[in-house]
């Protein structure tokens, strides 16, 4: 079968526009794995043109009002899965509370694509390079998965199981992302290395840490495009945890992260380059996060 772009959608399918989550879940239950959820369409339609996926049924969830919201509450922010990236980019709450996520979204694709693409779609597409994944992981975000038989939540970190693969079971739909408020004196940052802003990342990294006195706690480092799924660099985190973030130590943490990743050589970069650049951007991201704390940022 050809894997080129056919420039048409060479499959026929049933098309549904449910108006409620309940209706969407019932359709999913009826169609099972023959159905695909259409949100922004910016990944799915390309895959269909290339015949990588050939669903018999498309369920367009973009018209479901109860999936499109940003709600700031006392414990954190809840985001509907079908909320467009452009809306998140313009949200004061996201910018103020989760600057690494805001930065990641701002430099994804183009304005035209961000007017269409949704945060839930970016996660469900499960690209190892998904730019929203590392920030959501370092903030300890959780996803809510719903089916006709109920709901469960999962850390974003455990959501990805392989390239294009998630922990979602047949009949389940991602409905909400919850990001907890971060402790005071927390800094966070996101850095992406790509040819142009529009490109997918060669490597992306998000970090978050909390300062107590001179030492860094709650150190979280997550990287994308360097393993089959977005991943945490736990050894690198452990090397910094509870210690003063000196220049030498930050460089060392970058080196440890570079050893931890499992990069491949592909069309966007080589494994060697990914290892080299990881050393630099992990340290840079940590410096930036520390800078945010020191200038009084509490995000």
């Amino acid at each position: 079968m050809n894997r080129f772009n056919t420039h048409i959608i060479p499959v026929a399918f049933e098309y549904h526009e449910p108006r409620t989550i309940r209706e969407a879940l019932e359709l999913l239950a009826r169609w099972g794995e023959d159905a695909k959820i259409l949100a922004g369409g910016t990944d799915l339609l390309v895959q269909m043109k290339m015949r990588r996926v050939e669903p018999k049924c498309l369920i367009n969830i973009k018209g479901i009002p109860e999936l499109d919201y940003i709600r700031e509450g006392p414990t954190g922010v809840r985001i509907g899965a079908a909320t467009r990236l452009r809306r998140l980019e313009r949200s004061g709450a996201i910018k103020r509370l989760f600057p690494a996520l805001h930065r990641a979204i701002r430099w994804m694709a183009s304005v035209q694509v961000r007017n269409m693409a949704t945060i839930g779609g970016n996660l469900c597409n499960a690209s190892p390079a998904a730019d929203t994944a590392p920030p959501l992981i370092v903030y300890g975000a959780r996803v809510k998965l719903a089916s006709v038989s109920g709901e469960r939540t999962l850390p974003v970190e455990d959501f990805f199981t392989g390239p294009g693969q998630t922990a979602m079971r047949p009949g389940e739909m991602l409905t909400e992302i919850w990001i907890p408020r971060q402790p005071e004196v927390t800094g966070s940052a996101f850095i992406k290395v790509a040819r142009t802003a529009m490109d997918l990342a060669k490597v992306n990294v998000a970090v978050a840490l909390t300062l107590k006195g001179w030492s860094a706690f709650n150190v979280r480092i997550a990287l994308g495009s360097v393993a089959p799924t977005p991943m945490r660099a736990r050894e690198a985190e452990a090397a910094l945890e509870g210690r003063p973030p000196t220049e030498d130590l930050l460089r060392r943490v970058g080196e440890i992260a570079s050893e931890e990743i499992r990069p491949i050589t592909d069309v966007r970069s080589t494994a060697e380059y990914r290892r080299e650049v990881t050393k630099v951007i992990v340290a840079d991201a940590l410096r930036e996060a520390l800078g945010m704390v020191r200038v009084g940022g509490v995000a």
């Binding site: 772009n5 420039h7 048409i8 959608i9 060479p10 499959v11 026929a12 399918f13 049933e14 098309y15 549904h16 526009e17 259409l38 922004g40 369409g41 910016t42 339609l45 390309v46 043109k49 498309l58 367009n60 973009k62 452009r86 694709a109 183009s110 304005v111 035209q112 694509v113 007017n115 269409m116 142009t196 802003a197 529009m198």
Partner: protein, 165 residues
């Protein structure tokens, strides 16, 4: 709305006029506009959402018509460059493109004009960085972008009477 593998009726506003077309659920908005409605200013480019040639405005926002299914515009408003001005009375954005020499081969021009119009509708006074960010998603292989950026800022001056430095 629901439809089987056969025909599906889509009703929407195209450049201010109500249209009703029978199409297939697996037609993209791009297919619908070019093949059924013969709006050829909407270009078929990469078909993957990278090049921006197929940009149209849906409810005033620039989107990729190659990445939308035709039935997704049911009940909505679609604007192509035909709805922006006409040869006798150009829109200020179009006038500025002509004056600044921001058109060379013309292939990207409809997408550029629509993107610029959408930007100025929302932010009549954009700085240069904002202009560049807005047109980042529309590739031009001729101009080197400098004249396009100048044209958008010229249009902003005319629409709003000033630009930020």
């Amino acid at each position: 709305m629901r439809a089987g593998g056969g025909g599906i009726v889509v009703r929407f506003t195209l450049n201010g006029r109500e249209v009703e077309v029978t199409t297939r659920p697996n037609a993209t908005l791009l297919d619908l506009l070019r093949n059924e409605l013969k709006i050829l200013s909407v270009r078929r480019g990469c078909e993957t959402g990278e090049c921006g040639m197929c940009t149209v405005l849906v409810d005033g926002l620039p989107v990729r018509s190659c990445l939308m299914l035709a039935p997704q515009v049911d009940g909505r408003s679609v604007t192509t460059v035909e709805g922006v001005g006409d040869p006798e009375r150009l829109h200020p954005v179009q006038e500025a493109f002509v004056e600044a020499g921001a058109v060379q081969c013309g292939f990207c021009t409809p997408a550029m004009v629509l993107t610029a119009k959408a930007l100025l509708d929302r932010d009549p006074n954009p700085d240069e960085r904002t202009v560049k960010e807005a047109i980042l998603g529309v590739l031009c292989r001729c101009t080197g972008y400098a004249k396009i950026v100048r044209a958008v800022r010229l249009a902003a001056e005319r629409v709003a009477g000033g630009v930020r430095e």
